[in-house]
Amino acid sequence: MSLSASLEMAKATHTGMVRSHNEDSIAIDGEIGLAVLADGMGGYNAGEVASGIATALISSETREALVSQSPHQVDTNGSPLATGLLRNIISKANTSIFQSANSQPQYAGMGTTLVVALFCNSQVTLAHIGDSRCYRQRDGKLEQITRDHSLLQEQIDSGLLTKEAAKRSQNKNLVTRALGIEPAVEAEIHTYPAQEGDIYLICSDGLNDMVEDEDIEMTLEALGANLQLAAEQLVQMANDNGGRDNISVVLIKVKKDFPADEGLFAKFFSWFK
C-alpha cells in the first residue's frame, strides 16, 4: 500500500558556508514511508562515502524487505517487525561501511551518524545512532524525540551540564556511537504513534547547532503548508547564522492517518466471523 497519499515529504541539503564539501546524505521514499539521513565523518571524501553507503543501502534493503513483510505486525516478543527489520538492515550497513573502511586505506576510520524513520500503520519507527536528530512538531509545539549519542548529552543526563551550559562546551561533536567504525553497532529504535498534522523533522547537527529550537518551531508553524519551502528556509537560517557545518533537513508531514491494510487473509477470515 502506497503511503504517498498520507505522507508528504520534503528534503534539503547544503554544504554550509565553511566546509568545502557535503558529507551529509539523505534519501526519502514516499511510497514506503521511509526517510534516511546520515552525517558522515572521515578524512578526504570518506565521510561522503560512509553516509552515501548508509542511505543507499538502507533505502534499497528496506524497499526490498517490505515486498514480503508488513512491518506493523508484531513478533513473538511483542515488538513491531519494523524494529527487527531496521535493526538487521542497519547492521548490514554497519558491516558494509566497516569493511570498506578496513579494506581501502583512503577510507580508514570513516563512519556516519544515522536517523531512519519508517512510517507504517499510523506509527513511526525511529532508529538513530549518533547526534543527528528527529524532532516532532505537534499542535504547534516542537519536541526533540531522539536523544543524541554524544558526550554532551551524557553530561547533561548525569547533571554535570545544563542544556544551556552545553552550548558553551568545547566538547561539541563528540559522538559516542557511530555507524561503521566498529564491527557491530547498536541502533536505538523506538516506535511512536503518528497523528494527522504531525510534522517530523530529521536533521544533521549543522541545523540544530546553528538554529535555535524556537526558530525551528516558528518556521514549521509558519511554513507547514509548504513543506519544501520550510525545508529550504531552515537551511537558509542555518547559513545566515554562519553555516559552520553541512546542513541537511528532511520533513515528513502526516496528512491523514495511515492504518495498515490488514491483507487478504485477514479480510477473508473476517467474513466468517
Binding site: 558556508m17 565553511v18 566546509r19 568545502s20 558522515g40 565523518m41 572521515g42 578524512g43 578526504y44 565521510g47 524494529t83 535493526r87 576510520g109 563512519g111 549518533g130 536523544r147 554524544s150 558526550l151 551524557e154 553530561q155 548525569s158 554535570l160 551540564l161 558553551r168 562546551s169 568545547q170 566538547n171 561533536n173 563528540l174 559522538v175 559516542t176 556511537r177 557511530a178 567504525i181 566498529e182 564491527p183 557491530a184 547498536e186 541502533a187 536505538e188 523506538h190 547537527d205 547547532d209 526558530d215 516558528m218 518556521t219 509558519a222 511554513l223 503548508a225 509548504n226 519551502l229 528556509q233 537558509q236 537560517m237 545566515d240 547564522n241 554562519g242 553555516g243 559552520r244 557545518d245
Partner: protein, 263 residues
C-alpha cells in the same frame, strides 16, 4: 590544553596545565596545586577536566571560592575566568588549539579519544559479544555510560567554536532599519505590522499565504500556499524568494500593503 595561572597581588607565581582528569587545589602538600596559606583549606577545591571542558568545585572550604567575584560551589569554567582562593588568583585559559589550520576545520574526521585522556570504561562496548547478545532488546537507551566515558568517535572539524572562520562571520544586522508593513486597503487599512521576527506570514491560511523572512541582508517575500502568487509593484512573483525594497507595494489575498524601512 587548558591552563591555570596562579598569581598573588598581580605577581605571577606559576602556571599549571590541566592534563589530569582531577586537579586538586589546597593548602596541604599532596594537592596538585598547593597554596601554602592559612586562608586556604587543606583540600580547598577540585577541577575536573573532561577533554576540553573543565569544571571547578569547592570542596566545602572554610573561606570559599570565588569565580569572577562571585562565590561558587560548582562552576563550568570559561576561558578568561578568574578563580579567587584567599588572596590568590588563578586565571583559567582555554584557547582552542592554535595549530588547527583552516584545512582541519573543513575536514570531518573520526578520532578515537586517547586512552590517557579518557580511560576506556564504556558500559556497552560494541566489540564485546556478550553485550551484543543482550543488546537485542528493543531499546538502546537503557544504559548511559558515565560522564567520563570516552567518546568513541570525534567530529572535531566543527568543534572549536570560538574562532569563527573568516569565511562565515556571524551576520547580525547592526542597527539595521526595521522592516514594517502598512496595510493600505480593506478593513485593517492604516494598521502597521513590524517585521521583528525572523518569519512573518501574511494572508489567509487555505486561500493565499506569503511569508516575509528577515535575513541579515534584507527582507524577502516568498509564496507559501494558494493558487495565486503575491504581486509586488504590479508584478506577479514566481516561487522564488523576492527581496523587498523600501516602499514596495504588495498585493496579497485582495489586500494592498506597503513595505517600508523604519530607521
Amino acid at each position: 590544553m587548558a591552563k591555570l595561572i596562579l598569581s598573588l597581588d598581580g605577581q605571577l607565581i606559576k602556571d599549571f596545565t590541566l592534563s589530569k582528569e582531577r586537579t586538586t587545589i589546597g593548602r596541604k602538600p599532596h594537592n596538585d596545586i598547593q597554596i601554602d596559606n592559612l586562608a586556604v583549606s587543606g583540600e580547598h577545591a577540585i577541577i575536573m577536566t573532561i577533554l576540553n571542558d573543565s569544571f571547578l568545585e569547592d570542596l566545602g572550604s572554610t573561606n570559599g571560592t570565588l569565580v569572577n567575584g562571585q562565590p561558587v560551589k560548582k562552576h563550568f569554567l570559561q576561558s578568561g575566568d578568574t578563580v579567587e582562593i584567599g588572596k590568590y588568583k588563578l586565571k583559567y585559559m582555554n584557547e582552542a588549539p592554535a595549530n588547527m589550520s583552516q584545512a582541519d576545520f573543513e575536514k570531518t574526521m573520526v578520532l578515537r579519544a586517547p586512552a590517557a585522556a579518557a580511560p576506556k570504561q564504556e558500559v556497552r562496548n560494541p566489540t564485546d559479544t556478550q553485550t551484543n547478545i543482550q543488546a537485542i532488546s528493543d531499546t538502546g537507551a537503557a544504559v548511559a555510560p558515565p560522564a567520563s566515558a570516552p567518546a568513541v568517535a570525534a567530529k572535531p572539524a566543527a568543534a572549536p567554536v570560538p574562532p569563527v572562520p573568516p569565511a562565515a562571520p556571524p551576520m547580525t544586522p547592526v542597527a539595521a532599519p526595521m522592516g514594517t508593513i502598512q496595510i493600505l486597503s480593506g478593513p485593517n487599512a492604516g494598521k502597521e505590522l513590524p517585521l521583528a521576527k525572523p518569519l512573518t506570514t501574511l494572508g489567509k491560511p487555505g486561500v493565499q499565504v506569503a511569508v516575509i523572512a528577515k535575513r541579515p541582508h534584507g527582507y524577502f517575500i516568498t509564496h507559501v500556499e494558494g493558487a495565486n502568487f503575491p504581486v509586488v509593484n504590479g508584478k506577479t512573483l514566481d516561487a522564488q524568494a523576492h527581496q523587498l525594497g523600501d516602499h514596495d507595494i504588495i498585493e496579497l489575498a485582495g489586500v494592498k500593503m506597503e513595505f517600508f524601512l523604519k530607521p
